[in-house]
Amino acid sequence: MFRRRPEARPAAGDQLVEVFVAGQPVRVPEGASAAAAVLLSGTPAIRTTPVNGAPRLPYCMIGICFDCLAEIDGVANRQSCLVPVAPGMRIEPQLGARAARIEDAA
């Protein structure tokens, strides 16, 4: 159930994976979380809260606080600290509440 996370900051010899945080390429060690990539990218906020619009960055890194919500590869409201990076992953800010995707039934 438990496994060590790689250091978020790449060290010599690490296998690196390139992902995109708000469109900017970031290289992180394989097995790191999307939230680690968010923090390394230096982006000022990965989400804004739905009611007050306050800016947030990953905080607890263990799936509790929901401050790491991001749109990952087109899926809204994902907890980026629980999602391991994959090559080419697109991590976009979750600004406010997500939109429901309504396709007309007709």
Binding site: N77, A99, A100, R101, I102, D104
Partner: protein, 377 residues
């Protein structure tokens, strides 16, 4: 008040949920010095689990007094919400754009139409506007309606509000007006005499000429102490809550509503589980989710972030009980499972009756004596 002291008031309200708080607020607003006794979190707390509809359609079939009462409450609601906002600064998220009850077959549409027509006949001069709306027209009113929906009934009276903000606003307004809120105040004894009631909370007592019992399921035990009966049973309802989404659903429905903050609440289950609010029943949760998705397929993609169960306070016929004691005038009981819908009536209509000392004659069909008659028959 000291540990052994006695507090004398104009009115005592037992119960700090939506019913008790609405009545206590109404009494205090009438100028009566009122104390509200709230048992604590060991109580069943139906008000914390409410779905939040202000719902008129389908209430009171065969019971025009109940239909009128519900309708009157919906009409009293805008003023209640405005008063609470003015007094406390708390918005309760009231919207009354009318509401939809969906049907999934032509048969269901016909049955629903018959039911609504009967309600209209029973409404008499009070009036009861409704429409059966076919799916083609519904698609312009709500987004992404599922292909299985055949139509819906609509009345202009329905709406919704935040139960938690309402509860908080009623408590705050009550206290702003000078009412005394007593938390962790479990009633341990009641000494009743005509227009003279002494209620013990452990070693403390409060005394007043008016006593209102509004303690939900707790009334079953308390009512006999003032010569009344409250035959109540718990009916469990479960609710699922989705993550917040941008506003998408402009009007409430009987199975889904979107809160002001953006969450979608999914509900409308009924179970007999005694007093159990903790055991999760996946079958019921699945049924709630399925019905929501049949209605609005796009909900399937949203994450569920919370789920809970709460107990409705049900009388044998499902209608409210309002009763006053003949043996001990001044004692009133109030019970219902629609603490949000009826908040307007409780604060603006019922509380003034209690303040003047007698329920209005049109309230007599709500008396629990109706159940004695049924037993005898």
């Amino acid at each position: 008040m000291t540990a052994t002291g006695q507090d004398t008031r104009d009115a005592i309200v037992v119960g700090g949920g939506l019913v008790g708080a609405a009545i206590a607020y109404g009494l205090q607003r009438q100028g009566l010095s009122t104390v509200m006794l709230d048992e604590g979190d060991v109580a069943h707390r139906a008000s914390r689990g409410n779905f939040g509809l202000v719902w008129v359609q389908s209430k009171g079939l065969g019971a025009p007094h109940y239909q009128h009462w519900t309708h009157a409450s919906a009409q009293a609601w805008p003023e209640l919400a405005a008063d609470l906002l003015a007094t406390t600064g708390i918005g309760v998220g009231l919207h009354q754009p009318g509401g939809l009850h969906f049907c999934f077959s032509d048969d269901e549409m016909a049955q629903r139409d018959a039911l609504m027509g009967q309600l209209r006949r029973e409404a008499g001069n009070a009036g009861y506007a409704y429409r059966m709306i076919p799916a083609a027209e519904l698609r312009d009113m709500v987004p992404g309606l599922g292909p299985q929906v055949v139509g819906a009934s609509w009345t202009p009276y329905d709406g919704h509000a935040s139960p938690l903000h309402l509860l908080r606003a009623l408590h705050a307004a009550f206290q702003d007006l000078g009412g005394l809120y007593r938390p962790n105040a479990k009633v341990t004894a009641i000494k009743a005499a005509p227009r003279d009631f002494t209620v013990a909370i452990g070693s403390e007592t409060v005394r007043a000429p008016r006593l209102v019992l509004a303690s939900g399921l707790g009334n079953a035990d308390l009512a006999p102490l003032v010569g009344l009966s409250a035959p109540l049973r718990p009916e469990r309802g479960q609710i699922l809550v989705t993550e917040r989404t941008r506003q998408v659903l402009g009007l409430p429905t009987h199975v889904v509503r979107q809160t002001e903050e953006g969450s979608l609440l999914l509900g409308d289950s009924k179970e007999d589980m005694g007093f159990d609010t903790l055991t999760q029943t996946p079958a019921i949760m699945r049924a709630i989710a399925n019905k929501a998705v049949r209605t609005f397929p796009w909900i399937a993609e949203l994450n569920i972030v919370r789920a809970w169960a709460a107990l409705r306070v049900m009388s044998p016929d499902g209608k409210p009980i309002y009763d006053e004691s003949e043996r001990y005038p001044g004692a009133t009981i109030a019970n219902c499972h629609s603490g949000v819908t009826l908040a307007g009536a409780h604060a603006s209509l019922l509380a003034p009756m209690i303040a003047t000392g007698a329920l209005a004659p049109e309230m007599s069909p709500f008396s629990a004596r109706r159940f004695d008659v049924q037993k005898a028959a």
